[in-house]
Symmetry: C2
Subunit: 106 residues, 2 copies
DNA sequence: ACATTATTTAGCCATTTCGCTAAATAATCG
DNA sequence: CGATTATTTAGCGAAATGGCTAAATAATGT
């Protein structure tokens, strides 16, 4: 079963990508900007330099949270919320069993 | 409005806590163990040493994902899923606006 | 008081992360 | 082709993270 391992890696990538405030910020800005922005527009809106932003973008793309399309010499980034599901699904483990169960052996 | 800043910090703590596989593992094990386990039981189940596990526990407690209760000389840890909501609420920003909107100015 | 048990704190080291500046690539314009 | 624009890659240094061992604390049992 290769799938399970893959899912774990996906979850790990997504949570790590979301763990940095700058990256969460980028996702929100791109989303509310209409879901598509160029790297330059994104970089212009943040305190950090272009190369730093560029690295954040790469991490987000690697996690599948951003999709990138290159048209001419500019890159357009678009939010893809599908990967949020790996987190939501992980949360569901905690719906299934009430925390009030008890250890059986004293 | 002090609240907003507090919420952001909470989200940050939760996402950072969830970003490490060992900590996710701890939450799952404690949860399925019935929601309460001693530090020793937790440490015994992981590849890393007690002090390392202890640090992970501290991070989870700081994020509000575990609650700890000291009875005698042992500490009991219990999962508190309430803080998952800060993540779920953050995700909701992405429900509100479809990504298909367009930038208004050409 | 002393030994034992449960767990944390302190301190060290290796690795990763994240910021920066400078240089490289890649597409387009003149 | 050479200049310009858009963006990344390379490489450095500081800080954070995560692992370890050894020592400290804190409660309990004898």
């Amino acid at each position: 079963m290769v799938e399970a391992k893959q899912k774990l890696e996906e979850l790990d990538a997504v949570l790590n990508a979301l763990a940095h405030p700058a990256r969460r910020h980028i996702l929100l800005v791109v989303w509310f900007r209409g879901g598509e922005m160029t790297a330059g527009e994104i970089a212009g809106r943040f305190g950090c330099t272009w190369p730093t932003t560029s690295r954040h973008l790469k991490i987000l793309v690697a996690a599948g949270l951003l999709k990138v399309e290159k048209r001419g010499r500019t890159r357009f980034y678009k939010v893809d919320i599908a990967k949020f599901n790996s987190v939501k699904e992980w949360f569901q483990w905690f719906d299934k069993k009430p925390s009030s169960a008890r250890t059986s052996k004293k």
